[in-house]
Structure formats: structure tokens, C-alpha cells
Symmetry: C2
Subunit: 401 residues, 2 copies
Amino acid sequence: MLTQSLCARWQVAGPAEAGSRELTALAEAHGTPLFATRAAMLDERLAQLRAMLPAGMRVLYSVKANARPEVLARLGLLVDGFDVASSAELELARAAAAPGSVLAMTGPGKRDDDLAAALAADAVVVLESLDEGARLARAAGERRPRVLLRINPPFELAAESRMSGGPRKFGVDSEQAGAALAGIGELPLDFLGFHIYPGSNCLNAQAIANGMHATLSLAAELAAQAPAPVRVLNLGGGFGIPCLPGEASLALDRLGESLGRLASEASRRLPEATLCVELGRFLVGEAGVYLSRVVERKVSRGRVYLILDGGLNHHWQATGALEGRRHLHYPIWVVGGAGRPMESVTVCGPLCAPHDTWAEHLNLPRAEPGDLVAVFQSGAYTTAISPGDFMLRPPPAQLLV
Amino acid sequence: MLTQSLCARWQVAGPAEAGSRELTALAEAHGTPLFATRAAMLDERLAQLRAMLPAGMRVLYSVKANARPEVLARLGLLVDGFDVASSAELELARAAAAPGSVLAMTGPGKRDDDLAAALAADAVVVLESLDEGARLARAAGERRPRVLLRINPPFELAAESRMSGGPRKFGVDSEQAGAALAGIGELPLDFLGFHIYPGSNCLNAQAIANGMHATLSLAAELAAQAPAPVRVLNLGGGFGIPCLPGEASLALDRLGESLGRLASEASRRLPEATLCVELGRFLVGEAGVYLSRVVERKVSRGRVYLILDGGLNHHWQATGALEGRRHLHYPIWVVGGAGRPMESVTVCGPLCAPHDTWAEHLNLPRAEPGDLVAVFQSGAYTTAISPGDFMLRPPPAQLLV
């Protein structure tokens, strides 16, 4: 079902469809493997999101999901700012950001050169600890950098409302926040508010909404101990996209209603605060497709193997190797394959690693060497979290179309 | 025990030891994180191996394990050839190979440009299928490229002698080899012999020896159907190194005895064949150390976290994230830490990913920001299989010392 709907969306089921012709032309022009990100789908996704979010809620893009300059340039026109995790991400975000956009740096273990880059760019620094605040203040000299304090909440994002936040490397434990806030008040830092991120890649609107309501309550409690009024509350994100069989899209209408109530409550409890969500996968994941070509079709002991020219070196997450998901797979299709006889295949990458496998026991239209295979939902966390140097095969082309 | 013996070998337990002083100086000169590979340990490993292997058995280095030019240059003086998996690896291997060395290209899904590069370099091509042989022959023109046929054996490397070889993307099923050999005989290819690789990273000498004896028997059977006498038999490798608690080094003396018997048997059954082993991790893994620096020491809900400046972006395998190994960890030590009070810590990388964790509940000497942490057994499959672009943090320095 997911694959079918994505074939329809990308218009690639049959050979005469516009999407099939376009992707075939891209593969011929640029070689395979390649990633294509559809600009119109980025626009559409942001429009959906803006229609759902309460007025005034800001959208930050989490650059780690996809830091390609052409993608950032498009998003720069659409979002209110960028969240970065390193000085190199910051440099790319600055180049893409519209005037007046927010730049924020988040992440544990920021290096001194990261903090220096944040200062030079006048980025907001999301402090992961009071020690980090002290390092920032030392580096800041006469400047008074703007900071958020990241809180490790006593809850985490889950389909059931669990109160199970445990020890973590991220942020300051909520029960230690008072001491950290007092410490920040003594440093030459401009305290703006809180960053609380209870989890990621969730498809359950109610769970996300619950997490954000809990986040608001926690921030409102902690505000009493803060050295200044809370002017920014970053609620995190965690909006997922469906990638595996049986997964369904996030119910945006339901989430929107709940976030509307959240915004009303925030206007009472934190009247000076601008609310932000920070999204990566949700903004770019559905807009990308990975295309590779069948190099060989072989039969081994009764199983048909399609060996593609792309594998986990480009898109590890989709191979499932990361999570031991045998028999689960991203939505995969043979471009233009509708109408061909179907067969059960194992779809593999070309690497000398048994787990370089896209899918097993998957019914696909019969494919031959030269055919193009599309892996959908491939716009986020692709090359960014893949071992690109494995066997030193060529990097993929990356296109905004 | 493993960590202790490695601290002794690298001389890093106490602050005054030669290794501690050297690594501290390297970190100061080159920044952290860094990988240092000790040339003398490469030499020593090859000397051990040569002393163990029967006379005349060749040693190929599998470039995918570590393709750093400085490492290849050293190994070029020590091995009989290089096994590569792509045209880029081939180019690096050619630059490093001593005159007369063997170059061989192996791997499923070889691209046409890989085959062209192999032809240009006069490399031996290890065919993964008859179709690949036909592609190679078409590209070869007047040349008659040298080939091995890779066989998917009916057994795999395991501590108990199991006969469980199943379907695979690698090679030609042994029961289909007759047809493939006949096909090769009709192509303008110079058939040299077989490549049979039953498994990797094994610490059980008996299992490796059993696999190699089974490989020889299979090759001798298949030789009857081959278009030419078997002049090369690549026995694979699979020699492991201990990385996890409780693992012990491969018993080389025992393996050597068994391979001696194998060589005698081969001289009767395949009298024209040169035997090869193909090794990656075993040659370089123990010679490398990964050094990173503590950026922050924090306590969250009763647990101590050391946040390092290096993580799974450089050395994914050692974090255990790949295999869900909670509470197992590579050998880790605080450089010069002997004599400090010990504490139980969670050692983390700096990335915004919960699984960017080196070890949990590990007893280490108390470490403070600025201290160097060494991860041993880090010479193979490090950056080669890590997502180097994750969060665009700087790449590690890589040094041969």
C-alpha cells in the first residue's frame, strides 16, 4: 500500500508515466546511483505544516537530516531558521538562510571551534550543560551570547504516556535545572529559554502532542527559576514519516488541533515565549528518491538476487542493516515496472557485506540488468548516516529537481 | 584482561610510559580525534604470519579493511598483492604495490568502469558470475584477462563444522559451477582458478582450518570441470582479532600446523596451484589505535558520562551500535590513567544519536575534560564503514607512526 501510493505520487509505476520518463532521463544524464529531491514536494510539505501549526509557531530545519546545499537553499526560503550540530553545518546554513532567520547550534560535546563559529555567526547556542555555558562565556569576551538551556526531561516520546526519562548525555536533568539556571544567571549570557526534545521519528500524533504538552508544563515550571523571562521554547519535533510496511502518515489534523490548544496554554503560562518546532526527516524525507540500477540478476539456490549499483554505502538506513530488520524494507519499486510479471526477489547492494541488502522475499516486477530501482522516502538521513567510503565506490549524484 | 594487555603493548597505562608520551604528543600536534597505526606492528604481524604459513602460500591484503595510502605503502613492502573491490581501491593499490605484486578485483555488482579499470591495470578479476565473465570478455577486446571464479560453497565458516551454505549474492553456487566453468571455457578468458571465501572474522583456528580444508576439497573436485588446470586457489581468510571482552587471539601455532597439512594435500591434489590467503582485519586491525579527547564529564541521574570529541562518525564498529551490543565494548583506556581512582562510566561520542556510545557501565580511571581516551584494535574497518558525514564534524587525522 505504501509503495503503491508512492509510485502514484512519483508517477513511476508504468513506463509511460511522467515520473518514469523523468527519472530515467536523470539517470542517463547523471549516472547512477543518484538521489533526487523534488523541490515541489519540499514546498508542499512546508505548506501542509504551516496550515497545521498555530499562528506564530516557528519552524527550524535540523540540518543533520540532509545538509546538501541545494536542499538547504530551497529550505532557506521556507523555514524560519536552521538548527546545526557543528561549525561545518553552521557554515552551510548561513549560506542558505534568508535574512532574519534564526541559526541555532545544538549537540553534546561541542568543540571549542564549534563555539567560536557560533559566536562569529551570532548563532543561538543551545547549552547541553552549565560547563558548556562557562566555556562559551570564556570564549565570548565582550559579547553576550544568546543561549537556550537544553533540558533532559523526566519523560520521553512514546505512544503510551510513559514517565521514563532516564540518564542521558543530552542536556541537563530537569531536577538539576535550577542549579544550572542559577549558574547561567551568573555568567555573561543572554538566557532566552529552553530546548526540550523528548524523542524522534514518531508517527503517533497523540504521543507527539502529549510530549509537547508535557514539555510546555515543564518549561513553565522551570521558568520560575530562570534568570530572565522565557522568550523562546523549542519544543523539539519528532514528526515521523512512514517508511516500513504497515506504517501510516502522521495525522496532521489531529496534531494541529492539539498544538492549537498548546499555543493557547503557552500564551497564558509563558506569555513572552515564541514557540518553535525543530524538524528534519519530516521536512525532507518524503521529497527524496534514491535511484540505482540493476547490475546483475542472479539465482542462487532457488532465490533470485537483484544486485544494484548502490547499497548501504549511500543509504544505510534503508537497507535495514542498522536495526536488524529482516523482511522489513523501505518502499521499493522497479521504475516503469507495472504490468510485468511479479517475482519474489532479494534486492542487494554491491558491497562485500551480507547485510548490504535492501529487501528479502519482496514481490517486484521482474527486473533485468539496466533497470532502474527506486527507493522512496529517501530524502533524510541518507548519505549523512552512511559509510560513504566503504570500498571506495563512487558517491551518488545528488540533485534537486 | 584484553584491555590490560593492550595497555601494556601500547605502553599507555601510566603517564610516564613511552606510549602515553607519544600519543599525547601526536594529539597535540595533529588534534583529536586521530587514528595512529604503528608501522612496527604491521611488520611484526606479517612476520608472525609468514612464520606460521606454509612455504609458498601467498598473502593478499584486502584493501577494504583500511585503504589509507600510508598504510598501503607500508603493506606494499610486506604482502604479495592486494585484493580490491572498486576502481578507486585499485588505483590506490597500484600506487602502493611492489613490482610483481598481484592485483585482484573481487566483489558482486562490479560496474563496467570497474572492469575497465581492472583491464587497464592487468588485474586478475574474480568473477562473481558467468554474466560478469561475459561483460568482462566484451570489454577486453583483444586482451585475454586472467580470471578466478568465485564459488559460493555449500559450507560456511563456523566453530562447529556446519554444512549450511545457503543462497547468497556472492559467487556461483558450487552445484552450478560446472555450467559456469564450461561458459568461461568458451569466452576469451584466461582461467586461473578459484576464489572461495567461507566467512570472516573468526577467532577459532580449528574452524578456519576446517573451512580451508573443505575449500581445497571443493576446488579439487571442481578442477575436473575447469577449462584449464587450477593455478591459483584463493582460500579466503577470516582470521579474526579479539575486540570484545573475553575474546582471545587466534591460536596461530595450531592454525599453522593445519595449514601445513593443507599445503601438502594441495601439492598432491592441485599440483599446479599457488595457494593464497586474503586478509584484512588480521593484518591491520591490531596495529591501530583511535584517540579522542574528553570534552565534557557530566552526571545524569546517577550515571557519569564522558563525552568524547569522536564517535560513531569515525569508528562505528567500536561503538557497538551496529550489532546492538549493549554492555560489550572495544578495549578502551584513559591514556596514562593507571593509579587514578576508578569509576563506572558511560563513554559517549558527541553525536545527536543515543547509540553513539562507546561503552556503558565501564570501569575506567577517573577522566576529566582534556584527557585522552584510547580505543585499541582500531586499525581495520574504522572510517571505511563509518558515516563520516554525520553532522559534518571534522574527519580524524590518520597517521602511520
